[in-house]
């Protein structure tokens, strides 16, 4: 029950970054300054999930030093009136394109913004790495090809696509004894996408979906849906969406309706640690017996070290997309370093270093490499369960290559 959160910390972070940036030099030493753009939705409700990704990326950039170059970060926020805005996302990408020092970009966060940004960055040959995009159509198939417009891959992502995560949870739920499931989604691209994938797999495996509906982001009243789930006689619940869409509110409403004991499944949208504002923190005791997934391996060697660093910097635990943001920046930095080693740092050399070489990057998420369309080849889904007020690893599903 903490009342005031540690605000000002992110302000301090920005201070640190700006101090680091300004301390080096002004933009006049062109050719020496390299900038990594950070393009995320950073106000309103988007901030809750995208904020950690920014913090992670800024941390990675801050701790990097490259001989003979000054590495800067430039953060642009494309949320408007609290929601990510594809129009602004595209405009921000154009801003990065127009800034010659920018050699790579971390972002975007949402797939709609991805669809708006990828054609721009692709035309400019500017590398971008998304910490969170999971919509398959951004890279795969005709849709992906249309976004790239026949050009070389310039967009990579560290999260594996929805078409794996949803089914993984479905397989696990089935194994865990779920037969009659009630599905609720947040009606947005992520929530609905993952719920659709879950539903398809669950039905394929012989499960019954006893009810399915969606409540848009911003809904606070989940009692009607909880009662509907009760009336449908569900034995398990699936929620497609993120914590700030109302996952813990739904869980609480279920408990109020007397369904608090049912297993509650979600994807990585609710796997956000135990800190302030997290699923576990808000749902409290009701969070027990909840399951979530994460598109990453569980046993990352550097995880604790990263958390220590992160906590030292921002005064809070690294949670949610902090890892992915950090990993993205790590990959971009590795690319830049490779380009520096090659003697010529341009957008093209950085892009090629990350995408074309097929090399693996050691990141906080483990070893990451990319396939021919820029998706991570680390296709591992880890599953977690809330037990005793904390997420406990239960198993891992490897979809291989």
């Amino acid at each position: 029950m903490k009342v005031l959160n540690k605000k000002g910390l992110s302000a301090l972070a920005a201070v640190a970054i700006l101090a680091a940036a300004c301390g080096g030099s002004t933009a006049s030493t062109a050719g020496k300054t390299l900038t990594i753009g950070v393009s995320l939705p950073l106000n309103g409700s988007s901030l809750a999930s995208a904020g950690p990704a920014r913090d992670g990326a800024l941390l990675a950039i801050k701790e990097t030093s490259i001989e003979g170059y000054t590495l800067k970060a430039k953060v642009l926020d494309h949320a408007k009136e609290g929601a990510h805005n594809p129009d602004q996302a595209a405009a921000d990408m154009l801003t990065f394109v127009g800034d010659e020092t920018v050699v790579a970009v971390v972002g975007p966060f949402n797939s709609a913004s991805g669809k708006a940004q990828i054609p721009v960055s692709s035309e400019a040959g500017l590398l971008q790495c998304s910490p969170s995009n999971t919509a398959p159509g951004l890279t795969k198939g005709d849709d992906g090809a249309a976004l790239r417009g026949g050009r070389a891959v310039n967009y990579v992502r560290v999260a594996t696509t929805d078409d794996l995560q949803g089914p993984a949870v479905a397989v696990y739920a089935k194994k865990n004894g779920a037969a009659k499931i009630y599905i609720l989604d947040s009606t947005d691209a992520y929530g609905k996408g993952v719920a659709d994938a879950f539903e398809a797999q669950f039905k394929k495996d012989g499960g019954t979906v006893v009810g399915r509906t969606g409540l848009p982001t911003g809904t606070t009243d989940f009692s009607a849906v909880a009662t509907a789930a009760k009336a449908a006689d569900a034995d398990s619940i699936f929620y497609g969406g993120v914590t700030s869409d109302g996952a813990p509110l739904f869980r609480n409403a279920l408990a109020q309706a007397g369904l608090g004991a049912l297993p509650f499944y979600g994807a990585d949208g609710i796997y956000d640690g135990t800190g302030e504002g997290s699923y576990v923190a808000i749902a409290g005791a009701n969070a027990e017996n909840s399951y979530a997934s994460q598109a990453a391996i569980e046993n990352i060697p550097g995880k604790d070290a990263f958390n220590t660093k992160f906590k030292a910097e921002y005064g809070k635990d690294a949670e949610g997309y902090a890892f992915a943001g950090y990993a993205c920046a790590q990959i971009l930095v590795e690319g830049i370093k490779a380009a520096v080693t090659g003697g010529d740092v341009t957008r093209e050399t950085v892009r090629a270093a990350v995408v074309d070489k097929g090399s693996a990057f050691e990141t906080v998420l483990g070893a990451v490499s990319f396939d021919e369309v820029g998706d991570t080849t680390q296709r591992i889904i880890s599953l977690y369960k809330v037990d005793g007020g904390a997420w406990k690893f239960v198993e891992e599903i490897n979809y291989g290559n």
Binding site: L215, D221, A228, S244, L249, G284
Partner: protein, 338 residues
């Protein structure tokens, strides 16, 4: 205004007084039959909260014909004030099972929150709306939007962009049995508290001098000014009460849902505005009815698996309804043009 009076020939309806309660009972009966007791209670509870917020909307509209887009955010601020008072000042952690202590805590919580929010509302009126009293009608609408941005982002700055938990003082386990269904006392408490506040408001408006001043001001500001009503004071009091009710709604919201978040205001504001219009904007009883009606529609949509269409259903019904009754359920006050 005069145009409306001349064109819409008002035919007197001899059974109007009897028709309304009958309609309400018929509707409630039908809703109970269709939804079942659990969903019925859900809808009533949700409706009670909508109604409290809608009251403030409609009061402000009635008196200065302003669509107060900031009102939803005043409600949101109210829920945060309640959270702050409850958890930080009163040091509550969760449910209180000691009944006298519970009653005391809840009363103090209501009193403090309503007080703080009344002051906040009055301040907003003084700073953002009063200077525009004689300005074109849409000018205060834009300041209302500005105030809404300020409130949201100030709260976000202090309390963060995540969902924040609020102590649920009334234990959710307490319940009574109604025809085989478990009805939590919490819901009954929420409904009772809201209805009590609504009745208090009705009494205040119809019985007190200030209430009468509010009514005459809403009918004709200039005339009531000539009759000796202090217009600025009356409008200020309207804001005090409207925001106080929003504060009460904030308390109720926190107690019922156990959480709040900085972006609570937008959706609630929209619903409350819809409720106010549906009921006949400017009419307090209508706003309360509208709030309940919207809650029933929404809960119905969710109950039958059309949750994602909820907003569309509410608004479609609203459009159709207004086509047949252009001044809302209990419409009296026909707004002037933009």
């Amino acid at each position: 205004m005069a145009a409306a009076d001349v064109t819409s020939s008002s035919s007197s309806r001899p059974f109007a007084n009897a028709r309304l309660p009958f309609g309400i009972f018929a509707f409630l009966g039908l809703a109970l039959f269709v939804l079942g007791i659990d969903q019925f209670v859900n809808a009533l509870t949700l409706g009670a909260i909508y109604a409290l917020v809608a009251l403030g909307y409609t009061m402000v509209y009635g008196i200065i014909e302003l669509i107060n887009f900031a009102h939803g955010d005043v409600f949101m601020v109210g829920s945060f004030v309640a959270m702050f008072i409850s958890s930080s000042l009163l040091g509550n952690e969760g449910a209180i099972t000691n009944i006298p202590l519970l009653a005391g805590s809840v009363l103090v919580l209501f009193a403090l929150t309503i007080g703080v929010m009344a002051i906040v509302g009055a301040l907003i009126e003084r700073l953002a709306y009063r200077p525009l009293r004689r300005a074109p009608r849409l000018a205060p609408l834009i300041t209302a939007i500005g105030v809404s941005f300020i409130l949201q982002n100030v709260i976000q700055f202090f309390f963060g962009p995540t969902i924040v938990t609020v102590p649920q003082l009334v234990p959710i386990e307490w319940s009574i049995e109604v025809s085989g269904s478990r009805v939590p006392l919490l819901n009954i408490f929420v409904i009772a508290a809201s209805v009590a506040l609504m009745f208090a408001l009705q009494l205040f408006i119809s019985r007190t001098r200030t209430g009468r001043a509010m009514r005459t001001t809403s009918m004709d500001r200039d005339a009531s000014s000539l009759m000796g009503v202090d217009i600025n004071r009356t409008i200020m009091i309207t804001f005090l009460i409207g925001s106080g009710l929003a504060g009460a709604a904030g308390v109720v919201h926190g107690l019922y849902y156990g959480n709040t978040s900085f972006n609570l205001g937008f959706q609630s504001g929209l619903k409350a505005f819809t409720a106010a219009v549906l009921g006949g904007i400017g009419n307090t009883a209508g706003a309360a009815l509208g709030g309940f009606l919207i809650a029933f529609i929404e809960v119905g949509a969710s109950a039958f698996g059309y949750g994602r269409w909820g907003g569309a259903v509410v608004f479609s019904l609203l459009v159709i309804f207004l086509v047949f009754r252009p001044t809302g359920l209990l419409g009296s006050h026909s707004g002037d043009r933009a």
